[in-house]
């Protein structure tokens, strides 16, 4: 009798564990997944912004998905190749060798498994040698990020100028 009771109890416990692993398990683990994704995506976005101000097309090449598309602050659609072309050393010389710093704020995030939407406010302060500092350019960016082989990459961005009120 006691043996049968223990057997039934054990089976019940096994079923409860299976049930929890299928229902509560993913919910409990989701917070950790989102927290990890947040850290990774913040770092990804920071690397992208830094690479832009440093005209580092090699880094951007690693951060973008193969089908990356960008909508610029003037509403143009730029292909991956075109965007990488903006950030070469030659392009920097052509632009007068600007030195810029970028301040990132107002980070917002939505994670959908292998996809994420990131919003940020970017403030670019630029100086060109021998010229007065240019007024900061403030942009809102929406980035669609995708996980490829366990690594987050940027698949799409859109930049919109934030008007000062």
């Amino acid at each position: 009798m006691k043996k049968q009771f223990l057997q039934t109890a054990f089976q019940g416990l096994a079923l409860a564990i299976i049930w929890l692993s299928l229902t509560a398990g993913p919910t409990l683990g989701q917070t950790e997944v989102v927290n990890q994704a947040e850290d990774e995506l913040k770092a990804l976005m920071k690397r992208m912004a830094t690479a832009q101000v440093k005209y580092d097309s090699a880094t951007l090449d690693r951060l973008f998905t193969p089908d990356y598309v960008e909508i610029s602050p003037i509403g143009e659609v730029d292909s991956r190749e075109k965007v990488l072309g903006f950030y070469t050393p030659e392009a920097k010389s052509k632009d007068g060798g600007p030195e810029a710093v970028v301040e990132v704020s107002e980070f917002r995030l939505r994670v959908y498994a292998e996809f994420a939407i990131v919003l940020e406010r970017l403030s670019f302060s630029t100086t060109i040698k021998g010229k007065p500092p240019i007024a900061p350019i403030v942009l809102r960016v929406t980035a669609v990020c995708r996980k490829e082989n366990g690594v987050w990459r940027v698949a799409s961005t859109q930049y919109t100028a934030i008007k000062s009120h």
């Binding site: 039934t8 089976q11 096994a14 079923l15 299976i18 049930w19 692993s21 299928l22 089908d67 598309v69 909508i71 610029s72 602050p73 003037i74 509403g75 143009e76 659609v77 107002e106 917002r108 939505r110 959908y112 498994a113 292998e114 996809f115 939407i117 919003l119 403030v138 942009l139 809102r140 929406t142 669609v144 995708r146 698949a155 799409s156 859109q158 930049y159 919109t160 100028a161 934030i162 008007k163």
Partner: protein, 158 residues
């Protein structure tokens, strides 16, 4: 013995359910036919949105997800709430073109160009163009926009 059979059946059922959930979330559409069907569905929804905008409709629950990010042409962020009344101006024309649709599992990214014409209250016509991006996500109640952004199209130097 009977209990053992029931337990085994339940175990198989739970595992099958788990596998089904995992498949749904991990793989999504695989074939070109499935992707084409999603593209068609999203384009139909984009057209539905165009018509709503043209009519100046204020209820967008059928197309916008609760909590969706909506970035306006001035860079402001609106977080859409279900049942929210989005006031909009009355338009005389609203065209969309240059659509690029990219399907990724249960997420679709659409970019396009919208050409808008309207009139001021004193009947003076004006028009503008906006480049937009809509990110669609499939949920239990169908495809909904989870993020959108509008950028005014303007020539260099302006």
């Amino acid at each position: 013995m009977r209990l053992r059979k029931i337990s085994a059946s339940l175990l198989v059922l739970f595992l099958a359910l788990g596998a089904a959930v995992a498949y749904e979330h991990s793989w999504g559409p695989k074939t070109a036919k499935q992707i084409a069907a999603i593209e068609e569905e999203i384009l139909r929804l984009e057209e539905s949105g165009r018509v709503k905008a043209l009519r100046g409709e204020s209820q967008w629950d059928d197309l916008m997800a609760d909590g969706a990010y909506a970035i306006g042409g001035d860079g402001t962020v609106l977080i859409y709430k279900k049942g929210q009344n989005l006031s909009s101006m009355s338009l005389t024309s609203f065209e969309i073109s240059e659509l690029i649709v990219r399907v990724y599992q249960d997420v679709v990214v659409v970019t396009g160009l919208s050409k808008v014409a309207a009139e001021t209250p004193d009947k003076k016509p004006f028009s503008f163009q906006m480049r937009y991006m809509n990110v669609w996500k499939k949920s239990s109640d169908g495809w909904k926009i989870v993020a959108s952004e509008r950028t005014m199209v303007r020539p260099y130097g302006k």
